[in-house]
Point group: C2
């Protein structure tokens, strides 16, 4: 039996009447026929189902199903027979049917702001490694920091009956999904959200390290650049302010949409205004990049005119001249931990909320050399 997209058109009695064929133009009919007989990727034979395996092995559906999935509920000899028959027929399970019946999708969702952000790329790679190790699929979505998209994707995850979701929410996500309960556990990464488990950089410690380092190297007027779309921007901002106060210094923080262009614009204006700080901390890779470009654009020297440090140890930070001092995030660890926590919570839903703060590593490079002036 041939299974093609247009099977109906060619095989059902309804279309054996003159009318449909007569009504269609010659060209269309031709294409239809080609489609029908093209063996390029549609196999010509019906794919074997568990039923066929049962018939071939002389056993019942139930037994075959058990042999193929369970472990130990079936006689080893029988199991081998089933496996052999399945192999011979080239049987492949239909995951949709399996999921429908078993109510287990073996799938998790991963909603990140933008996969092009190297931080998320690294994290998601870790998540995927862990997932596929456990035979779990990952559905990846980009929210673009857009609360509407976030809500849509969360709804989608419901429909997909995912077992859980790992998520980096925007600030507004909290309000948007407040009160909503999901059929799956939620683990947030990088940013906190409501009462969901969270794994993120230890922001307080990270900003402490950066400020301490800059102060130790003689900088006093230290400015900060923090994202205004995420709880993390907020957390880093607060940590920066308190670290500055601890040193008896006056914080000078600017909040912005965390994109390269916005940072370049903002830092440019800041520099042009003439009240530029002695050192600048950028709270993520993109804003650090924007800041660097703005400084370069104006022909200023780092760190002599202005020192620069940031968060996210991206490859380029080491290659630029001068190399940039950064806090390296344990990206792979974050993803791996998130996945572990998710698996754990799926099995033990009642655990109380856990927040894991992972330490970043201060990587000192030339952009924050001791102040000479």
């Amino acid at each position: 039996m041939v299974y093609t997209a247009d099977k109906r058109r060619c095989l059902t009695p309804e279309t054996d009447k003159i009318q449909p064929y007569g009504a269609s133009q010659a060209g269309v009919t031709l294409i239809d026929l080609q489609k029908t007989f093209s063996g390029f990727y549609r196999s010509m034979v019906m794919k074997p189902s568990i039923k066929d395996v049962a018939a071939a092995s002389g056993l019942s559906l139930a037994t075959v199903s058990r042999a193929l999935t369970d472990n130990g509920l079936v006689n080893e000899q029988t199991r081998q027979k089933v496996l052999a028959a399945a192999e011979a027929l080239g049987y492949r399970p239909n995951l949709q049917a399996r999921r429908l019946r078993s109510k287990q999708s073996q799938t998790i969702g991963l909603i990140v702001a933008d996969i092009r952000n190297p931080f998320f790329t690294a994290v998601s790679r870790a998540i995927e490694d862990a997932a596929y190790r456990e035979g779990i699929r990952v559905l990846l979505c980009n929210s673009d920091e857009d609360p509407a998209k976030e809500a849509m994707y969360l709804r989608l995850m419901q429909e997909e009956q995912v077992g859980g979701v790992i998520f980096s929410p925007t600030l507004s996500a909290g309000a948007a999904i407040a009160g909503t309960t999901f059929d799956f556990p939620l683990i947030t990464i990088d940013r906190a959200l409501g009462d969901a488990d969270c794994v993120a950089l230890n922001n307080h410690e990270a900003l402490d390290k950066l400020v301490d380092h800059l102060v130790a190297n003689g900088y006093r007027r230290i400015g900060g650049l923090f994202g205004n779309t995420s709880a993390t921007g907020q957390a880093r901002h607060d940590a920066y302010v308190s670290a500055m106060h601890r040193h008896g210094l006056t914080p000078d923080a600017r909040r912005l949409v965390p994109t390269m262009d916005a940072a370049q614009q903002l830092v440019g204006d800041w520099l042009d205004a003439g009240d530029a700080p002695e050192a600048l901390i950028a709270s993520n890779g993109l804003t650090l990049l924007g800041a660097m470009r703005a400084i370069r654009q104006r022909g200023l020297r780092i760190p002599d005119d202005i020192a620069l440090a940031g968060i996210d140890n991206e490859a380029w930070t080491e290659l630029v001249e001068p190399a940039l001092t950064v806090i390296g995030q344990p990206t792979y660890d974050i993803g791996d931990t998130a996945m572990r926590m998710l698996m754990n919570r799926i099995h033990e839903p009642a655990l109380s909320r856990r927040v894991v703060a992972l330490s970043g590593e201060l990587i000192v490079r030339d952009s924050t050399r001791p102040r000479t002036a």
Copy 2:
């Protein structure tokens, strides 16, 4: 009715007997109970199905189904009634059931070598944008250039009944899947494979541009670094060789595993050996990075001691000192085109093979300044 993971344990007669509870330690029993009554994310009521919507609206299953999916097969008034009922009940379709019955998974697969490679990140972002625009899910897999993983993921895609797969195969993939036919169309990106549609950079043109540019700037002894795991490495190598010959120059190409570390090692050895070329072309972002590091490590000046150019206009290439001359790949275009071709082929399976070569852009920067020596 409560649906929890351990429903069976609490409700079936089998476990109402003393034995299981008696056998378990107190702690375990406690956790089980917590799980049962935890409303944290498992909703306490059964999710409404299409059946409930039918009951609520006083219509049949069939009509409700049609109202929810079809367009025009149902009276508009009826449709509104259904929609209202669905809304009131908070109905969400079960995608597994829908897919099982309709045999349409509305899902495509995306198998890339490594999502951490910015090239693939950019491409996959384009693919996902296009996919979600069409209401299609994307299943992302990293093959790590491992033919065994590739084969495994392709089999997985079969089981997922995906509508199609976009794939960046290794060189050996061809041999591995030769003769195999899939139930879905395959579009390869970046690299060719068998008779599958392909969309990639116009490698010949790209290498021509690079070599021409270097020659025009006075370089003669131009070395090349090319990956040995992909058809693309091969294609770029061949294009390089023919471009060199066209100029009457002797090619000096090295093949390697295309990773940063391997490139750094190889270029380091090359430099140490004393026969380093005047200019070096690296065939992708990772090898370019490795080459840059090796050159830096030895304190050599670019381009005075050795000029450097590559393929892939990654953000860092512009920021390093000196900025690097590269061929920028139309990454977003590649993904977008691949998706378009896939959709097209799903609808018209019989089309003959199409290979799309997109032009890259030569971005001239300081690393290939005219030769002064």
